[in-house]
Amino acid sequence: MKIITVCGLGVGSSLILKMTVEKIAREIGLDCDIEHWDMGTIAGVPHDLIMSSNDLKGSFPENIVNIVYVDNIVDVNEVKEKLIQFLNEKGGNY
């Protein structure tokens, strides 16, 4: 699956979140490709899931539905819990 991590400029926080997600993906054996990107140009980027921080809630285009927001981009436990919850909701289609 393709996961995109997003922050305002797409160079700082999104990259840190990407590293957190990469670590979790290795741990739970999730086969995925992760990129980091900025909010302004995200509309044209193909993805299965977008992960971002809470402060960007409500800023994404309405047609983007698969978004998971986290409070702390370096908190492995929180990010893992929310990622697994998303995967379960999607019924393990990935």
Binding site: G12, L15, I16, D38, D55
Partner: protein
């Protein structure tokens, strides 16, 4: 043959590609990942210098016209454009800064491992800006290549270990813990602004009870907000100048169309540059983090400013709005005092003005957030104008733009005479190490 290698090693894109290569090998990545990672780092650096070229090109006629119309120097401060252009135009700065970026990181690791300051600075674009600023100031002071590399690397590592420590007492109030730190070259600006906010504020009031219009969140989209603000500046200038004076630059083109396309060209340059930064740091930062995780137990990652945005979204917007007020006042003051007008930076206002608001809220409640945002707006303008004449960037082919981040602007005059700078620096390092040890003692 030897010539070929020397030539390759003198290209900053290749040097940083090699740094990424070593980092990827140390992490024991697969061969294809090592190859693509190295390649992307090199390409990223080439893309970002292309982007900074676009920005400088869009700004050159704007700043000439601005000077012509107002008899003042107009600047659009943007750090990445400055350092990108310095690297593209001055080979010695390019070579030495690449080494400073990499070796400085290892100095950061050694200091975090063996001194009380446990911060690992992970905000890649800020590390990059600092490395070029240090290479620039040492080069401008007349030092030769080896000295620039050695002194620059030590200063880089020490600076990036110290900065998060300066912000950490405030960060602990914001995050309620000690797990993340502030890793940004605006530390001196936002912390001093929050300190003033504390003097005038009341931390018992809760800023999050204030309701702000939702339409403000529009500014989170960098591309649109930069285009609109620059559109106002370009079109405003074109209208004040009138069609005749604009025709010098626009030729046959309508003067309003010229203004509009100038603003859009600038924005496009920023987007290209950010894409380059994204590619060039996408491999480097994870390599750095992988190495730090192995070598520094108990390290605290120092992160880019949005890492604290989620803790106080309202304070973020208040800091942003008041930093715009502060920048407006600062523009006028700078114009009157220095004859230089640093125009409002919407990226600076949103990201780092927002951070100042959050820090000000932590120390002084809603009023603290407002004061901190406003004072920080002054930081984003007055020092820009004050240091512009001392460090003449135009002789290195960088016109119309300037550095913006407070810590780089403080580092410039501080290290102009390196021995003075180093003295001040060591004193601060010792002071914050003692504070850090005190904090550990109280919380263990």
């Amino acid at each position: 043959m030897l010539d070929l290698f020397i030539n390759l090693l003198q290209t900053p894109a290749i040097v940083l590609g090699l740094v990424a290569l070593v980092g990827l090998l140390l992490q024991k990545k697969k061969a294809n990942q090592v190859f693509t990672g190295t390649l992307k780092t090199v390409l990223g650096l080439l893309i970002l210098s292309g982007g900074s070229g676009l920005i400088v090109n869009a700004l050159a006629p704007f700043s000439e016209l601005f000077a012509d119309v107002f008899n003042l120097t107009g600047l659009v401060p943007f750090d990445e454009a400055v350092v990108g252009a310095l690297q593209a135009n001055v080979p010695i700065i390019a070579r030495t800064s690449a080494i400073i970026l990499a070796a400085g990181f290892f100095v950061n690791i050694v200091l975090a491992r063996f001194t009380p300051l446990k911060y690992i600075f992970l905000t890649g674009h800020m590390m990059w800006i600092m490395s070029v600023v240090l290479a620039f100031v040492l080069h401008a002071s007349g030092y030769e290549e080896t000295t620039i590399m050695v002194v620059g690397s030590i200063l880089q590592g020490a600076f990036l270990t110290l900065l998060p420590a300066i912000a950490q007492p405030t960060m602990r109030r914001i995050t309620g813990g000690n797990t993340i730190a502030y890793g940004h070259l605006t530390t001196i600006g936002v912390v001093s602004s929050a300190w003033i906010g504390r003097l005038l504020g009341d931390p018992k009031k809760d800023v999050e009870k204030i309701k702000l219009p939702e339409s403000l969140s529009f500014f989170k989209d960098t591309a649109s907000s930069v285009a609109i603000v620059m559109g106002i500046f370009y079109l405003g200038l074109a209208i004040v100048a009138g069609p005749e004076r604009v025709a010098v630059y626009a030729g046959e083109q309508n003067f309003l169309v010229w203004g509009l396309l100038g603003a859009l060209g600038f924005t496009a340059g920023i987007l290209v540059l950010l894409q380059g930064v994204r590619m060039f740091l996408g491999e480097l930062v994870p390599s750095f983090k992988g190495i730090a995780d192995k070598l520094v137990p108990g390290a605290i990652p120092a992160l880019d400013c949005p890492a604290i945005f989620g803790f106080a979204p309202t304070a973020l917007m208040i800091g942003f709005i008041f930093s715009i007020f502060g920048m407006t006042v600062g523009m006028i003051v700078s114009g009157l005092v220095f004859g230089i007008v640093p125009l409002i930076s919407i990226i600076g206002g949103f990201f780092t003005g927002g951070a100042a608001g959050i820090m000000g809220n932590a120390t002084g409640g809603p009023r603290g957030a407002m004061v901190a945002g406003f004072v920080y707006g002054l930081w984003l303008t007055v020092p820009v104008a004050a240091t512009y004449e001392i460090f003449d960037l135009t002789q290195f082919g960088v016109t119309g733009t300037s550095l913006l981040v407070s810590d780089a602007l403080v580092a410039l005059p501080l290290f102009k005479i390196p021995l003075v700078g180093i003295g001040v620096f060591v004193a601060l390092y010792v002071w914050y190490s003692i504070r850090e040890l005190k904090y550990k003692k109280e919380n263990s």
